[in-house]
Amino acid sequence: MLAIETKNLSKRYKTKTAVDSLNLSIKQGELFTLLGVNGAGKTTTIKMLTCLSKPTSGDAILLGDSIISNPFAVKEKINISPQETAVARNLSVKENLEFTAKIYGFDRKETALKVQEMLDTFSLAEVSPNKAKTLSGGMQRRLSIAMALISDPQILFLDEPTLGLDVIARRQLWSAIEKLKGNITIILTTHYMEEAEALSDRIGVMSKGKLRAVGTTAELTAKTSTGSLEDAFVSLATLEEATG
């Protein structure tokens, strides 16, 4: 069964087309990366798939449910770690996790178990009583992802998860994401080539709202006759830009 299938998914604003007839299939358990420069349409795609923004045309089916006709059912299966760190600043790490579990309907006992699991998985136990606003950027990002995972989502959206983090924090986060691979479907957006290469099962290159190519790193480099993902990306993005 496919985790995500988009059918001519499009989003148009008054003066520009943010996403143009996106057709994409993502398998369950896959870590799929949407790669593109700023303004390529990655975040708009994520917003549509998470039911935050309605498509202008087309549809997407997430584990059998349409984002247009059944968004509430979709929301019960997904979670997101937004681009900007989204944590409750005056709540402790533990309270942030408890709060998220409860709004997804977990009872007290389940909440306690899930909170402990997330604290352990993301190495947050030591800072559990600390207020979120006192954490470093990397720690806040880890908490943000833990909050996204505590609801046991079948599909997890990670929008630029390592943006603005230093090398160490980035590698720690990669390690946490790698542990999740295979268990749930992950859609990651990034404009860091090495991140896409290190984490992804497949990569979709987006440019100017269009999906230019989809494949593994090896497939993309072979397709563009280049030696690296970065070269392949530049080739795909600029070639298609030149041809429209």
Partner: protein, 245 residues
């Protein structure tokens, strides 16, 4: 359960901000003390405590608008609300979640103001309790203003609108600092077209035992509260389905 969890989070966010506590509780008390001290040094009865305290309580409620507006605006600006909007919560979950924790806070704020007034000479009797009850719809009005401001503006603008404009409107156009009937004219006309003077008059009527005068003023407040809450809910729901990039 979901609404309760969201309410609890909002309550903690607000009460853990020391500035909220300082302004929400401290500032009205300072005003109460200053005006009472002023009264003790002048011959004319300008700031009689039983007339002053409902006004100061109404003025204090403008900070409730500031708390709620700032919280919602900050949630929006930090993507926290974006995270919540992908959760299986309904519009009533959000609106009740933001509104419910503010009601006990507002009642507590009003009560503390009245207790402080008791130390300054206010005689505690049944009508004082009635005045507190009469001010609850006023609290709903100010919560609605905060919800609306937070849904429309960013936190800086909310700071200006609720922190500066609303506090001044509720101070100058409520008849707390001076008798609006003495000023008269267009100023009084405008003041009585807005809900603040009616809110103070309803509280004063209750405390002085003029029961028949309570409802005519309170209807103004309730009318404004209902209208503003409906607009706030409409704007908030629009935000939920916002298609802005």
């Amino acid at each position: 359960m979901k609404t309760a969890a969201f309410s609890a989070r909002n309550r903690k966010e607000m009460i853990r901000d020391p500035l909220n506590m300082a302004f929400g509780i401290g500032f009205p008390l300072v005003i109460l003390l200053l005006l009472t001290a002023l009264q003790s040094n002048i011959q004319v009865e300008l700031f009689a405590i039983d007339q002053l305290v409902p006004g100061v309580a109404v003025f204090g409620l403008s900070f409730i608008s500031l708390f709620s507006g700032m919280l919602i605006a900050k949630d929006r600006s930090t993507s926290f609300l974006m995270r919540l909007f992908t959760a299986p919560l309904t519009a009533p979950d959000y609106i009740l979640g933001y509104t419910l924790p503010l009601i006990p806070m507002a009642v507590l704020q009003i009560t503390i103001t009245f207790i402080a007034a008791a130390f300054l000479g206010l005689v505690l009797h049944f009508n004082v309790l009635l005045s507190i009850v009469v001010l609850i719809p006023v609290a709903i009005l100010f919560i609605g203003i905060g919800l609306l401001a937070g849904s429309m503006f960013n936190d800086k603008v909310v700071g200006g609108v609720c922190g500066a404009l609303l506090t001044n409107l509720s101070a100058w156009l409520s008849g707390t600092w001076f008798d609006l009937h003495l000023v008269g004219g267009w100023f009084k006309g405008i003041a009585y077209m807005l809900p603040f003077a009616h809110a103070v008059d309803a509280g004063r009527a209750a405390i002085s035992g003029d029961y028949t005068s309570i409802l005519p003023h309170l209807w103004w407040v309730i009318g404004y509260a209902v209208a503003i809450l409906i607009i706030a809910i409409f704007v908030f729901r629009k935000q939920m389905s916002s298609d802005s990039d």
